[in-house]
């Protein structure tokens, strides 16, 4: 006669913990793999804008970043920005410089595109349209979400590269040309790939597309 073996209390506890552990492992595996899981994707067509002609939509793997451009603050830079957005030049450009919770930079059209990413030169590329002058006459406080034109160490060397700051940067005022502000989707940018201690991101995330709303 086969004797039925009863599970002891300690065995029940161990089994319970194993099941809990398995559930946690599964959940964390899913979350780690899917970094965009809690990121809200904003649909610009469902939002009313005061100046729709100055609204740009930057799409990344985690969704849309909706940016309002400031032509009154920096007319030349916004004009350049719109020209490049309109021609699709920013599509497939890498977020080549990402500093966790501080700043993300993209827009190297020469060495930072998906099809010809050059790690040795990314960040030094040009658009081919020439440089434009820094526009610093208007007092402007750089706060989280503001978009600015990147430049070399010298003034008046702005071209196509831009940055978006993820924290307030009081020292940027009077240094960099402001071009706009993220209205929706800053959390999308916080999910852009960065590597701690690395200046340039190896195998970076890319802009899927960047277009004007109108």
């Amino acid at each position: 006669m086969i004797k039925k073996i009863k599970i002891s209390i300690s065995e029940r506890i161990i089994l319970f913990f194993i099941i809990i552990l398995a559930i946690f492992s599964l959940i964390s595996f899913v979350f780690i793999k899917e970094k965009c899981i809690f990121v809200k994707n904003h649909n610009p067509n469902n939002i009313q804008f005061d100046n729709p002609q100055n609204i740009a939509v930057l799409n990344t793997n985690c969704g849309n970043v909706i940016i309002e451009l400031y032509p009154n603050v920096s007319p030349s830079s916004v004009k350049r920005f719109k020209t490049l957005i309109g021609s699709g030049a920013y599509n497939d450009a890498a977020f080549h410089r990402v500093i966790e919770n501080k700043l993300i930079q993209a827009g190297d059209l020469e060495f930072g595109k998906r099809e010809n990413l050059d790690y040795g030169k990314v960040g030094t590329g040009k658009s081919g349209l020439g440089t434009i002058k820094s526009e610093l006459d208007v007092e402007f406080k750089f706060l989280r979400g503001h978009v600015g034109m990147a430049r070399t160490f010298k003034m008046n060397t702005e071209d196509s590269q831009f940055f978006i700051i993820l924290q307030d940067e009081p020292l940027f005022e009077g240094e960099y040309t402001p071009v706009g502000k993220v209205l929706y989707g800053i959390e999308v940018l916080e999910k852009v790939k960065f590597i701690d201690k690395f200046h340039t991101v190896p195998r970076p995330d890319f802009i899927n597309y960047f277009k004007m709303l109108d």
């Binding site: 501080k102 040795g120 009081p170 020292l171 009077g174 701690d196 201690k197 200046h199 190896p202």
Partner: protein
């Protein structure tokens, strides 16, 4: 080959820990904001740790962090003097960042300040000799002015003010003429240090003009020519400038 490339890439891409906004702007490490809410838009930064700078591997410029009490005390003096320069004027001469640290030296020779008009930065030694400290601030500001407007401060024109048999040394540290005390009998120079180079001489005249303001009464014709030269050219940069 692939491993070699990966290895090389690692060293090309890696940077010191995390990116620092101040370092990216003016290429000086270990700084924090002291005060940026100023009427003339000067940004005061202070060293949190010692730092070294230099164009070559030697990095022969060195400065040390200071304690808060000294910083607070000296900031008051420095800002009082630098507040005399308007925002417009500072823009025209390319001065925006003031770095406060102590025991500043170049090649182990102590100095009151190091101006750099390209980075728009003036590093000031807040432990510099107290007797000359305030005047030295204006002296260093003049170097920024001069570097930004060389077209106005022509050394050959300046040298003609001196007696024909006088010659400056090749550099400001090429001899031991470092005394900053005001001469009783000027004979063309405010201080011994003014005799080192034309640009130091100009800086000494400017700093005396700024520090003593209208108290300079001098019968020295050379000094008076030099004063007029400095005044004329400063006003060419900004005609609303007040000495």
């Amino acid at each position: 080959m692939i491993i070699f490339r990966v290895f090389l890439l690692f060293f090309i891409l890696i940077t010191p820990v995390k990116a620092n906004t101040i370092y990216n702007l003016i290429k000086i490490p270990n700084l924090e904001i002291y005060n940026i809410n100023t009427t003339n838009n000067l940004r005061y930064l202070y060293a949190t740790k010692p730092f070294r700078l230099g164009v070559n591997v030697k990095k022969n410029i060195q400065c040390f962090n200071s304690d808060k009490k000294t910083l607070d005390k000296k900031y008051k003096i420095i800002s009082k003097n630098l507040d005399r320069y308007s925002s417009d004027f500072l823009k025209k001469i390319n001065l925006k960042y003031i770095v406060l640290c102590e025991n500043l030296s170049v090649a182990k020779i102590n100095t009151a300040g190091i101006p750099n008009n390209l980075t728009r930065t003036l590093i000031l030694d807040i432990k510099f000799n107290e007797t000359y400290f305030e005047r030295a601030i204006h002296h260093e500001v003049f170097h920024i002015i001069n570097d930004s407007h060389k077209e106005f401060f022509k050394e050959n024109e300046w040298k003609n003010f001196n007696n024909k048999n006088f010659k400056y040394t090749k550099c400001s540290t090429c001899n031991n003429k470092w005394n900053l005390s005001l001469y009783n009998e000027t004979q063309g120079f405010f201080t011994e240090y003014a005799k080192s180079t034309a640009s130091e001489d100009m800086a000494e005249v400017f700093s005396h003009l700024m520090f003593y303001q209208n108290e300079i009464n001098n019968d020295d014709t050379i000094i008076n020519k030099k004063i007029q030269f400095i005044k004329k050219n400063i006003l060419r940069i900004d005609n609303s400038f007040n000495f």
